[in-house]
Symmetry: C2
Subunit: 384 residues, 2 copies
């Protein structure tokens, strides 16, 4: 996203305000981690592009401040067996929102948003004041909010929660502190959400590991509503976690991404079909003709659309639209997207004014899908 370069010289661990075991980890990561120097506009920071010991990918350093990356959460495919196998203590159950993951914090008087991989996102950064009351950082300057941004007008994912019909919304699901490992305890997070009237993800209470059966109605209701799933967070010092998704979200993901065949690994599709089959099996739902047809259509519609696009315009593209408050952030956003996706892969279609917003419409070109289809449709040969 910003211009990046591998770091030759080590940076000054001494200045980073970390202590204890985390200090040792950062010191080791300083020597052996995969750090990149990023700059975009006036922002300059270091980004860890691969998980190093307990420092997740996407950890960043701004001057004297470390913001830990958001760690991967494992997936279970069975409620009952999964809760028993993965947890020893009761778990908090939260909704998993279908959006993109950001970390939001204040640095030198500016509120910034980082993507999962640790890039500053000029779009989210632009819109943060719309999405939450940023005065929280006046009383909590060390706070890092971990949140999902979701809705149809975002620049990364097509689709999203079916009950968000326009623009985007933000849902906080975790909190961290700068220069500290791990998350704030669940009750502390709820207290801060409440005290600062921050938007949180829906909470579904606590569940004992041997009482997963009582979650089935919730999961089936989320499935019917086209929502993504739930996250389990153990109510213990270990803070173990797992995610569990609905069946239908897999069909939705496949529908949105089947035009991007070749951009995504093939496993993206087969894993989702397997997850759907496992969900149907777990909940005793026989694959009905409707589900089968939806799955087949999800695969074929996107691919047919890609074929037609290549045929008509010689390019396979996906369209995005999003709203900005400040024009300067649009320039930074487009620059960062070009950097991330490569030259010629982003095309601005239209920039207009709607009320308080600048509305940017743009296209991402899918180069591998375009290239493959161009080859095949012109009679190219493939040895497979």
């Amino acid at each position: 996203m910003p211009d990046s370069a591998s770091i030759d010289s080590s940076f000054a661990i001494e200045r980073i305000r970390v202590d204890g075991a985390l200090r040792d980890t950062v010191a080791a990561a300083q020597q052996h981690g995969d750090w990149h120097e990023e700059h975009l506009g006036d922002w300059r920071y270091r980004r860890l592009s691969d998980t190093f010991q307990r420092l997740p990918e996407g950890s960043v350093v701004f001057d004297d401040t470390l913001i830990c990356g958001y760690p991967k959460i494992g997936r279970i495919f069975r409620l009952d067996a999964g809760l028993r196998a993965q947890f020893e203590h009761p778990c908090w159950v939260e909704e998993k929102i279908d959006g993109y993951n950001v970390r939001i914090f204040q640095h030198e008087g500016q509120v910034l948003a980082l993507t999962r991989r640790g890039y500053i996102c000029p779009f989210t950064t632009d819109r943060v004041p719309d999405l939450l009351d940023i005065r929280v950082f006046e009383s909590e300057p060390e706070l890092v909010l971990c949140a999902e941004v979701a809705g149809p007008e975002n620049p990364y994912n097509e689709g999203g929660p079916p009950d968000i019909h326009e623009d985007i919304r933000l849902f906080v699901f975790d909190m961290m502190r700068k220069n500290q490992p791990g998350f704030l305890p669940h009750r502390e997070k709820l207290r801060l959400l409440d005290a600062h009237a921050l938007p949180g993800v829906p909470q579904y209470g606590r569940c004992e590991p041997d009482q997963a059966a009582r979650l089935k109605p919730l999961v089936l209701a989320l499935d019917r509503a086209g929502r993504e799933g739930i996250i389990f967070k153990e109510d213990s010092g270990q803070d173990r976690r797992a995610k569990y998704v609905t069946g239908r979200i897999n069909v939705a993901d496949i529908r949105l991404c089947s035009a991007a065949i070749k951009q995504l690994p093939a496993e993206y599709f087969t894993q989702r079909v397997l997850r759907l089959a496992l969900f149907l099996d777990e909940h005793g739902i026989a694959p009905t003709p409707d589900i089968e047809r939806e799955l087949g259509a999800a695969l074929l519609e996107g691919m047919s659309d890609a074929i037609h696009q290549e045929h008509d315009t010689r390019k396979v593209i996906r369209r995005f639209r999003c709203r900005f408050l400040r024009k300067r952030n649009i320039r930074l956003f487009l620059r960062s997207l070009h950097h991330l996706l490569g030259k010629g892969s982003v095309r601005t279609r239209c920039l207009s004014r709607e009320g308080a917003y600048y509305v940017l419409q743009f296209e991402k070109v899918l180069p591998r899908t375009t290239g493959l289809l161009a080859h095949l449709l012109r009679g190219g040969i493939v040895f497979d």
Copy 2:
């Protein structure tokens, strides 16, 4: 299949009866090729496990005799553009049969069948006298028949041509000569097929590269009949080739293999969906609800079956049944299959006598699918 070992000592190129450019290639392959020494029963030979220059994977050496491997044939996804792009001269059009590829030849008085990868197949070798008149090798001792073996009772592929309801059949599609590169010319092949009353693949005449349109009715008829597709063979000294498959065969392949998710690369599935989308587009067939449902069902049925199998028996298996003439070949066949698939991966269910045949029923265990599902169904976690 047979026991195999990498070859330490080089073998005697001097003895192999090859000349000219092929001799140079074999000499180079002797030094740098990936040869394996195979033995099964009384058979001993050398097998090339990777294509080396113009010697395809599966080339083998028996004493003084080289049998060239069967080369890969590229695939086109468009009839009209494909024929224009790939060919300069008219092409012979032959049916592509949905089975497995063998090379059949006589060695020291025995007629043997090799698989594509160059292993002796004790099953096909056993049944050759049923499948063709082997007296052809009396007058043509240097002949190598390249053929597809297809039908429901084969030990490798489930499914097959819908008009073969039991056992197997054989279809010759090419001929080679021992110690010679390339194939016999098409007319020479037809003459030998006719002279020796050998079973050949269906022939659909010749087609000019700019007259592909006239093949559309044939392709659509094959599609409706559930048959696999066609092969183009240029009527020229260059003998260029290409294959083109129907839409429906992709759905059939997916249906048969979706239980083997994790045994096969994910691309196996996504490529077939893309081929189906391209076929529908080329022939102006909108994806109908029936086609969508068939595709979805093909994916879900096999996976659901695998989940139920793991749940019920803790193993995901596929069942096979095939007929042998000689009991000794069953032992050799099972030994070779164990060797190829690994210990514990083949289980004999039943051996019975039916008329002139021994009927072997056996199961192949799918270890990766079994392992994955066992992990997931017992509540295991996956970081994906």
